[in-house]
């Protein structure tokens, strides 16, 4: 993953998605890995500021604030190009002479787009006549951020795993969480306390 997955907005100018995979922001500040897990910001005047990743993260806007801004501009709130893989089956895993568990088997990766709206997440393939899959928020049973994919499970639907081609996976995880929380509050379902293995509320 890239630094732009962590810094999904510029901590300096606040622009979302403005930092490229190499760490350069459109405002002229260049972010790069410094000592250990620290991050250096190199400003156009040559000044360098080093902070921990957490300190930089604290300067990013809250996901709820992003949703409010996006809502004012109309839907979809955000759209990204993705490689999607659906679970098509499962396989048994055995080890040490015993059954360990079932694991999921994924189908081929298909290029498409993922959109986030006020009440749903929508996946569309880029192929002509491509299929679309819509997850109304009330039907999403789990949201799982994995190493480099975001996974969505809908009621009665297979798990779909998304790899983001031009956007931050961390931003999508935060936005989807914030949008689901907002939906659950608006519809009187309670406060979400967990997004996996099942979306669960405090009720």
């Amino acid at each position: 993953m890239a630094l732009s997955d962590l810094l999904w907005a510029c901590p300096d100018c606040g622009e979302v998605g403005a930092i490229g995979p190499e760490g350069s922001c459109t405002c002229g500040v260049v972010f790069s890995r410094g000592r250990g897990g620290h991050i250096d910001a190199r400003y156009p005047d040559g000044a360098v500021v080093e902070r921990t990743a957490a300190e930089w993260m604290d300067r990013l806007p809250a996901p709820e604030e992003l949703l409010e801004r996006a809502a004012a501009e109309g839907e979809p709130f955000r759209r990204a190009h993705v490689l999607a893989q659906e679970v098509v089956g499962s396989a048994n895993v055995r080890g040490g002479g015993r059954f360990l568990n079932r694991i999921e088997r994924y189908g081929p990766a298909v290029k498409g787009s993922l959109s986030l709206t006020r009440d749903s997440a929508i996946y569309e393939t880029l192929d002509a006549g491509g299929t679309a899959r819509t997850w109304a928020f009330e039907d999403i049973t789990a949201v799982q951020g994995s190493s480099n994919t975001l996974q969505i499970k809908g009621r009665g639907q297979p798990l779909v795993s998304f790899r983001f081609l031009d956007d931050s996976i961390f931003l999508w995880e935060l936005l989807l969480h914030a949008a689901l929380r907002d939906f659950y509050r608006r519809t009187g379902r309670g406060e979400i306390v967990e997004f996996q293995p099942r979306v669960t509320t405090d009720r």
């Binding site: 993953m1 962590l6 890995r33 897990g37 921990t52 990743a53 895993v93 789990a142 293995p197 099942r198």
Partner: protein, 207 residues
């Protein structure tokens, strides 16, 4: 035998990356079941934890790590077993309880995924429930420094020092009903979060 060889290999190669400082290893019970609960800073965590803990640890790992035949074989050699994280997975719970009932150690990275910014993420309630169902001693393990060696957002390992601090075993009674376990969740979460932040030095993340 292969597990032991992997331990020796990891210990031999680790100086290429940096030094490892270990504290409180005597808190690992000499015999009987235990659950080792650690924070998760990098891919290196399970390698180094399994390399230093004298007793074999059966580590719960995400199911996708078993997808390829080679990775799956390595995981099984290292006594890992899969858990499906996008749905309730009774088999992962059953197997964990069985391993504990056989007197072995189970290792779980309770945040469920590596930290993005070095802070401790929310603990997974499923793991807390498992702890409250098992009633086995819980050994907290705070990992620090691994994030600086290999943060989640960077593909390259940098040399650095890593510290593993094992805390005193924590005792949680085995609770037999879901209602009892749910009632005990907040306090269990508070105690384990407190142990992990104090041992690792990582602050809890705001999300």
């Amino acid at each position: 035998m292969i597990y032991r060889s992997a331990q020796i290999l990891a210990r031999t190669l680790w100086p290429l990356i940096g030094r490892v400082h270990v504290e409180g290893l005597h808190h690992i019970p000499r015999k009987g079941p235990f659950i080792l609960i650690a924070n998760h800073q990098s891919y290196l965590d399970p390698v180094i934890v399994q390399a230093v803990v004298p007793r074999p640890i059966h580590t719960m790992a995400k199911s996708t790590q078993f997808n390829s035949a080679t990775a799956g074989a390595v995981m099984k050699t290292l006594k890992s077993y899969p858990v499906r994280r996008f749905e309730i997975d009774p088999q992962a719970v059953r197997l964990s309880l069985r391993i504990l009932s056989e007197g072995h150690g189970v290792g779980i990275y309770i945040e469920g995924e590596r930290t993005w910014d070095g802070r401790l993420q929310t603990l997974r309630r499923g793991t807390l429930r498992l702890i409250l169902k098992a009633g086995a001693p819980v050994v907290p393990c705070g990992i620090s420094g691994a994030y600086h060696i290999w943060p989640r957002w960077h593909h390259r390992i940098k040399r650095g020092n890593l510290t593993l601090r094992f805390g005193e075993p924590m005792r949680f009674p085995a609770l037999h009903t879901r209602r009892e376990r749910d009632a005990a969740l907040p306090e269990t979460q508070r105690l384990i979060t407190s142990a992990l932040t104090s041992l690792s030095g990582a602050e809890p993340a705001p999300w």
